[in-house]
Symmetry: C2
Subunit: 199 residues, 2 copies
């Protein structure tokens, strides 16, 4: 029996996810065949099957990985001295990602698939819960330090920041004139006025 | 040749649109057959065909009508003395509509169909442009009266308000705990701090 090298296995798995992300962003989830993903990563369909039983499992793993990356990002942000600045930096990254055509297309594909597939919807919902929990923690700690207004309702404020994140990605889909890279300043005005301690 | 009574024709056309909206919201656009719409409105398929050539034309007419309703609503709002209050009232209506399960489901169906069909995407894009133009007009007039901060960039501010509208509808889809009816107060805090003239 052949032994599996865990590092090599993880690297191949990641190569599949990266190739699939590029294919889904370019062609759409349903328009991409597993054969195309195999070709992009240089792997036989039989070999791909050792990593993922089907295309659905691949998009599920992509959603899981996005959740892990967001969690890791917030662990870093939470260690900052300036937690309001950390929140603004998170929104800077949101604008950067929304301005990345591949990432924004993939986000739309995932939303559409969540509308069709309950297992994907459950994963998207879990990522969203974790995002709001991370925002709540950041707002609570920032409030305790006087870096954001401590009188704000934390859960509701996290919900409206999450709505802004959703909204930024939806703007990309609906408004061809929306260039996220031009909106860092307005985002700072909005967040600063809304969240900073009131005079 | 039979003469068409324009009023009766318009009323029948509207009955079809209302029945279709209810079917699309309950079952989804693709899962609804024209036969089901005919049954709901009490009309033969041959008769329906006098009004709309296909299901696509029905959803297109629904999107057109939403655009007209939004335009009429903003014409009313623009005649108010308190234009900041008018803007808050618009967002109150957005929260009410997002809390209406049928309306929110239909909005998601339209977004999904816009992602698949360029003719629907073009209509959704036109509605969005008109919404932003109406918001810009309201913000400009409110700024001239000192009801909102006149130093805000009008187009960018309209874009972020549109992002909030998108975000509210997306919250309904992604967050089962989001109850729009509980968010009127936080919406007022956010808009007031962001938009009101700064001390």
């Amino acid at each position: 029996m052949r032994k599996v090298d865990p590092e090599k296995h993880a690297a191949r798995r990641q190569a599949i996810l990266d190739a699939a992300k590029a294919c889904f962003a370019k062609k759409g989830f349903h328009q991409t065949s597993t054969a195309e993903i195999c070709a992009a990563v240089g792997m036989s369909p039989g070999n791909l099957f050792h990593y993922f039983p089907n295309k659905q499992a691949i998009i599920g793993a992509i959603v899981d990985q996005e959740g892990e990356e967001t969690a890791a990002f917030f662990r870093d942000l939470g260690a900052r001295d300036d937690l309001y600045g950390a929140l603004v930096e998170f929104m800077d990254v949101v604008l950067d990602l929304a301005g990345d055509v591949d990432f924004a297309s993939l986000a739309l594909e995932i939303s559409a698939e969540a509308g069709r597939e309950p297992t994907i919807a459950a994963r998207v919902g879990r990522n969203d819960r974790e995002l709001r929990a991370a925002l709540e923690q950041l707002l609570t700690d920032a409030g305790a330090r006087g870096q954001v207004d401590p009188t704000l309702d934390i859960a509701d404020t996290a919900t409206w920041i999450a709505a802004l994140v959703d909204g930024v990605f939806n703007r990309v889909a609906v408004d061809p004139d929306f260039k996220p890279e031009n909106h860092h300043k307005t985002m700072r005005t909005l967040l600063g006025r809304y969240l900073r301690p009131q005079a």
